[in-house]
Symmetry: C2
Subunit: 308 residues, 2 copies
């Protein structure tokens, strides 16, 4: 495959607190700000606590999920003082580290999230982005003790709803399992190691190193499964089955248990073989998602190097 070249990635934003109760990003950004880190080698670094009001009250959001507000339509919608806080904040952030789709936008946005699901370290990204996939491949080679995975959301960039879509390139880092409102040292160390490697990659890239091509695996969202619910009250009537709980990215096959009802019955899976993820994510109860199902794909990367 022929190599591709891009301009250097000179301006990078490291973001946390997009969901105010996902603590790894909150403490990482606060620490970088306290240490006044604004440059790492050739890269100028912006650190952003993206939803400070939600962080203050330690909840996912104040009025609406900030990380669903970055579509072009919402970023360009008129706002008033009575608009939801997060919609106004999204437009502020777009001005600060975007604007989305413009040449002023950050070269790379990394947004740090946590999940209650056992997803380890996982990138989430839109469409095909060679940077994201090369960084993923680099992390996979550097982080021996952690399986680093990636989920690709096949959404056109205009409709991409999350913060990192505001940058020229960007991805979210999901790290778990970690309860909301709690910071775990193991998860913190894992994400810190990943961020350190990402900046090493950026130094190597900017200084002219060619990264060889190759193959990486990714997961693509196929569909979402809701909990069994009481049709009248909407209350859930079953929990994720113990055999599915904590088994994100383990192939789910027809007949495998997926739910255990509170009266003790097992519900079995009845679809094609797919990979579950976001299994029992706290915030997805209200979104009516017990888990997502993905297909595994292989992506072939071209060699990549800096322009010139």
């Amino acid at each position: 495959m022929e190599s591709v070249s891009f301009p250097p990635l000179s301006r990078v934003a490291v973001c946390g607190g997009t969901h105010g109760n996902e603590m790894t990003g909150v403490y990482m950004v606060r620490h970088l700000q306290k240490e006044k880190i604004d440059k790492i080698g050739s890269v100028s670094v912006s650190t952003v606590l993206t939803n400070p009001r939600a962080v203050e009250i330690c909840r996912r959001y104040v009025e609406t999920d900030l990380n669903r507000c970055f579509t072009e339509a919402l970023l360009n919608s008129p706002v008033t003082d009575s608009s939801p806080y997060e919609l106004r904040r999204a437009q502020e952030l777009n001005a600060q580290i975007g604007p989305k789709g413009s040449k002023e936008a950050m070269d790379l946005i990394i947004d740090i999230h946590n999940t209650t699901s056992n997803m380890g370290l996982c990138f989430i990204f839109y469409s095909i982005d060679w940077f994201t996939l090369h960084i993923l491949k680099y992390l996979q080679s550097k982080m021996a003790s952690v399986e680093v995975r990636a989920i690709q959301l096949d959404i056109p960039i205009a409709e991409a709803y999350s913060l990192e879509s505001v940058g020229k390139h960007g991805f979210a880092i999901e790290a778990g399992p970690q309860p909301n409102g709690v910071v775990r040292a193991d998860i913190h160390n894992m994400v810190k190691e990943a961020v350190d490697h990402i900046f090493s990659w950026l130094q190597e890239f900017n200084s002219g190193n060619t990264f060889e091509g190759g193959e990486v695996e990714a997961y693509t969202l196929e569909k979402s499964i809701d909990y069994p619910r009481n049709p009248v009250t909407g209350e859930i009537t079953a929990a994720i089955h113990s055999q599915l709980q904590d088994n994100d990215f383990k192939l789910l096959q027809r007949g495998n248990p997926i739910f255990m009802s509170f009266s003790g019955e097992t519900v079995k899976y009845d679809g094609e073989d797919l990979y579950p993820f976001f299994v029992n994510e706290c915030a997805y109860y209200e979104k009516k998602i017990a888990f997502h199902l993905a297909r595994k794909i292989k992506l072939t990367l071209p060699p990549i190097k800096v322009t010139g």
Copy 2:
């Protein structure tokens, strides 16, 4: 030791949702109510969702921690419509399953809680209560796969602040680790098994079985340790160290790591040998508790049987 005898335990309350985001009790009580369970053998059963407004919004509490409102002083304080919701609710509950210290009070109150700490299945009780300790001993003999522990809080009953203190006898069940807002099948099954065994014990006791005396271990709270904090902002500057995280009830000794600061320094323990518990409990960040420390004690139980 001479045996002690008590009247039968005929009226038992099973409570959940005292903290509205601790889901095991919420779903267990809802399920018992849906199944219209109001009698198990010789025992009349009341099921109570104790903080329904907090359950509705899936938060620990609405205005103040309900499970700190059951002191005699607070239960007897005048309330108005502008009093905190939980204080008014505590007085309602006291009328419903108490009144505290009266002969009308429930014979036994079991309140089901969850923690983000790795505490397994743990009773919390006040002073010395032979029922609680006999039930504990029974569960320890019946539940092979789980270590069932107990924490004794040495607080006079008038000052006891939690729901179960309203009954003639009572204890809280803490079950974890489980994130707030999430229900895990493993934790649910563990608590359900415990509750089933408790009702078996009650049937045996009420029908005249003598339970032999013996020894049980319990933990008594010695002191609480807060996170290192920024003296100006109050923000925490360190996480529980990986070597302490998830190691509730493992002896902590001088020199063991307890915190890892966000700049990477390890803080070591510098006190006498004690047992940590509630390590990294989500709700205790605001209470300025990173973990509690306990002494282990042995309690000698008399044989127990029903009166007459």
